[in-house]
């Protein structure tokens, strides 16, 4: 930290000196800054100004009274959440789903990208890539419907397992299978799309390195291990750090679509809680408070994992 601060001071100077330098720079490159302006205005108007709405998390917000007129209740909603005995269940469900997502879904696009990278026929590879992107554009409602048709009690997969195992597995109606179904659907839908960023990173690998390795007698696996993977390591770390920021995000639409009375216990996550309170119950303040709490945790996780990445000698986010 101290070294980085010193570094910054060396570059920008400190205090008044810093502002004077900045002023000079702006004057020098004024047209560049003018170019920056639309983006800056966009962020202020659409991202920063709406953030004042966060205050409703500390109010008993009634739309008719408005943000300013509503009663101020401080940390009431936060207390209310932690007084709810089941809040740990909601957190647990969220974390389990998220962890499974990181362990099983996160590596999937990397593996697929590496496989694609090994393909010789470029035209075939391009065709395959395009086909792999398609599921991303299919609405989750459709994905759930397809799953239901296949895995539901009259579906082909259900019947097949019944014939092979001798007993049926209730894919769609048990809390044990619920999470696997969610992860499976996510992998099916998003893996192809997720390869884009890794494939882009792979194009930056210097082909001379491969040639040199080949001359030295390195096989495919050796080349993969010593050249390809190190080349995209920083991208993987970057994606992982970003992923940490959404550890508490499970989404709610997917889970609500898949939930029924038999498996609901596994579907109750923080995002579902926010939906139940905010949209179903109309408790906007309560929902905002939980959302705010999630965001604070997310920011903390991103900063922490970025720090760890620095300590391990990676470039990280910034």
């Amino acid at each position: 930290m101290t070294t980085r601060a010193a570094e910054r001071r060396a570059i920008h100077g400190s205090g008044r000196n810093y502002w004077r330098r900045l002023g000079n720079e702006v004057r020098r490159d004024k047209w560049l800054y003018v170019l920056l302006l639309p983006g800056l205005i966009y962020f202020i108007v659409f991202k920063y100004l709406p953030m004042f709405g966060i205050v409703i998390a500390f109010e008993n917000y009634v739309p008719f009274s408005g943000v300013i007129g509503s009663e101020w209740v401080g940390f009431k909603w936060f207390n209310s959440f932690f007084r709810f005995p089941a809040w740990l269940t909601y957190l647990k469900n969220t974390l389990i789903l998220s962890l499974m997502n990181i362990v099983f879904f996160f590596p999937a696009p990397i593996i697929l990208a590496l496989l694609l990278n090994e393909m010789r026929r470029q035209r075939y590879k391009k065709l395959l890539q395009t086909m792999l992107y398609v599921p991303h554009f299919i609405s989750i409602v459709i994905v759930v419907s397809i799953t239901f048709v296949m895995f539901g009690p009259s579906g082909i997969v259900y019947k097949a397992t019944q014939n092979v195992l001798g007993h049926s597995i209730n894919y769609m109606g048990s809390p044990d299978t619920f999470r696997w179904m969610i992860i499976g659907q996510t992998i099916w839908k998003e893996t192809g799309w997720g390869t884009i960023i890794f494939l882009a990173a792979l194009t930056n690998v210097d082909t001379q390195l491969y040639e040199a390795a080949m001359v030295d007698g390195a096989g495919r696996l050796r080349r993969l291990w010593h050249i390809t993977l190190p080349a995209i390591r920083s991208t993987i770390v970057l994606m992982l750090i970003l992923r940490m920021g959404s550890v508490l995000d499970t989404g709610y639409d997917h889970l609500i679509l898949m939930a029924n009375p038999l498996n609901r216990s596994a579907s109750q996550t923080l995002d579902v809680f926010v939906y139940q309170q905010g949209i179903q119950q109309g408790q906007f303040s309560y929902a905002s408070a939980i959302g705010l709490m999630k965001s604070i945790v997310s920011v903390t996780l991103v900063l922490t994992s970025n720090k760890i990445a620095h300590l391990l000698g990676e470039q990280g986010l910034y």
Partner: protein
């Protein structure tokens, strides 16, 4: 140049005059209503029904339709906007957002209008008990939408039952058991009881028939307790569990969408259902017009069900009303009288008939005998044309019908056997209806965690019926519910209940 300016000024003045001269223009009232008719779009222009309303009241309705399926969600997001429609149909009069908004002054206080029998004679005819049920802090903010109590009930295929060897009237729970067991034996692929993922109605019907309270009960000491603690609740669940065990219920009922509920009966896969009783005559009418050879009543409606000790309790399906019509502050103070006159008119004889039937020869037709024609009996082309007109112009305007004056809809239709039976049963069953004593009460725990707590009980019941958990598992779920806030809720309801009695 000067000339041009003066011409322009004159023109502007003329336009200004025109807008001032709008005293005779109707008052435009915006309304948010739930929509059930999804296959035909509502037509607002040159709509004979809206024209008739305008002629009678000087109010031009401007309706926003929101699909009934997620009306609650849409209502909540609408309420998040400051610019509200003038009239809102709130399907749940007790939702926290409605109560909070009423307290914050989002709606006009209608208490004085309701009590002003001289100027608003129809509103004054409403039931004071129900007005009390929907009041917030003792003030009335909405006009409730009347529903007949005993819409909940059981109906079954009498022809199939006869073939299965059951040929008598169902008068006791034992008869119902006998009927269910007979229907369960009909074949391997068919089921006795039609159940789907919406189980609340089925479970309430059978548990209340066994003597359990409706959601909340009052014990002999005058204290509130949750329905599942009544032994009759477990008896009701056991009844369903037994039927499930002997193959009388589709093993996958919990995963069947409510959209398929009617089709299961229409395709002959199940023969009995516990639900809104009016669905019985709808199914009957569907069979008459779609299945060849059906002329007699094949969907029988079950009357009062006696328990072993002879007493009768029935689940009323609703608390005598379904939500309310709210008047928001988007209505200007000077327009309030006109709007309230309009609402009063909606509850008059003419208003009720217009909102339910529309305009003669546009959306309904009267035969030579003076009765309204049942268009479903007409030849297909004529039926399509007439039903289309009804869907276009009348659409779901009956959602605005409050009917607090209990005026009948005129002209009446000559009732079919099935509809007559339903009308008779409504009268016959009403005295046995078990009401929820906590309906008008507010529990903060329910407001805060209701959405999380109620599925615990409901899901456990489904799992118990399906044999996934045993009685210990069921009791564990109940204990879980109690620990997570159920006990607090019971206590809060008790306090509110005793406070309301002391008043």
């Amino acid at each position: 140049m000067k000339k041009l300016v003066s011409v322009l000024l004159a023109l502007l003045l003329a336009i200004g005059m025109m807008s001032f001269a709008s005293a005779d223009e109707p008052l435009v009232v915006s309304v948010l209503l739930p929509e059930f008719t999804m296959d035909v779009d509502f037509v607002a222009e040159n709509n004979p029904v809206l024209d008739a309303i305008e002629q009678a009241t000087g109010v031009r309705l401007q309706i926003t339709w929101a699909p009934n399926e997620n009306y609650g969600d849409i209502l909540n997001t609408t309420m998040a906007d400051k610019d509200l429609p003038m009239l809102i149909a709130a399907t749940d009069a007790r939702s926290p957002l409605i109560i909070n908004s009423a307290r914050a002054g989002a709606f006009w206080d209608l208490t004085d209008y309701v009590n002003d029998a001289a100027n608003y004679p129809n509103l004054a005819l409403g039931d004071p008990q129900i007005y009390n049920n929907i009041s917030v802090d003792g003030r009335i903010y909405g006009i409730y939408r009347t529903r007949n109590y005993p819409r909940g009930g059981a109906y079954y295929r009498s022809d199939i039952a006869k073939q299965a060897g059951f040929d008598k009237e169902v008068k006791t729970i034992d008869d119902l058991t006998e009927l269910a067991e007979a229907l369960a034996k009909v074949s391997e692929d068919t089921y006795a009881l039609n159940m789907c993922s919406y189980t609340a109605g089925t479970i309430s019907f059978i548990t209340v028939a066994f003597g359990a309270p409706n959601n909340w009960g009052v014990d002999e000491n005058g204290n509130i307790y949750p329905a599942h603690l009544s032994p009759a609740y477990l008896e009701g669940l056991n009844w369903l569990r037994h039927l499930y065990e002997i193959g009388g219920i589709d093993p996958n009922f919990a995963q069947i969408s409510t959209n398929d509920w009617n089709d299961i009966e229409r395709t002959g896969k199940a023969f009995m259902r516990f639900d809104c009783l009016d669905n019985a005559y709808r199914q009957q009418e569907w069979f008459e017009s779609n299945v060849e050879g059906v002329t007699e009543t094949i969907w029988a409606q079950v009357g009062p069900l006696a328990k072993a000790d002879g007493s009768i309790t029935i689940w009323p399906q609703n608390p005598g009303f379904s939500g309310e019509i709210l008047v928001t502050k988007s209505v200007k103070e000077e327009d309030m009288e006109k709007v309230m006159k309009f609402i009063d008119w909606c509850n008059s004889d003419a208003g009720i008939s217009l909102l339910n039937l529309g305009v003669e020869n546009a959306t309904y037709w009267v035969g030579e005998d003076g009765y309204r024609i049942d268009i479903s009996k007409l030849p297909e082309d004529e039926y399509n044309e007439k039903s289309n007109a009804g869907k276009q112009y009348l659409h779901d305007l009956n959602q605005l019908n409050m009917g607090v004056s209990y005026h009948a809809v005129e002209p009446a239709m000559k009732l079919s056997e099935s509809r007559q039976r339903f009308a008779d049963l409504n009268v016959e069953l009403a005295p046995y209806a078990v009401l929820d004593p906590c309906y008008p009460l507010v529990s903060q725990t329910n407001v805060d965690y209701g959405a999380q707590l109620s599925p615990i009980i409901a899901d456990a019941a489904v799992q118990y019926i399906a044999g996934i958990i045993d009685e210990d598992g069921l009791r564990a779920a109940w204990a879980d519910w109690a620990a997570q806030g159920g006990d607090a809720m019971t206590q809060e309801y008790n306090e509110a209940y005793h406070a309301s009695l002391g008043k």
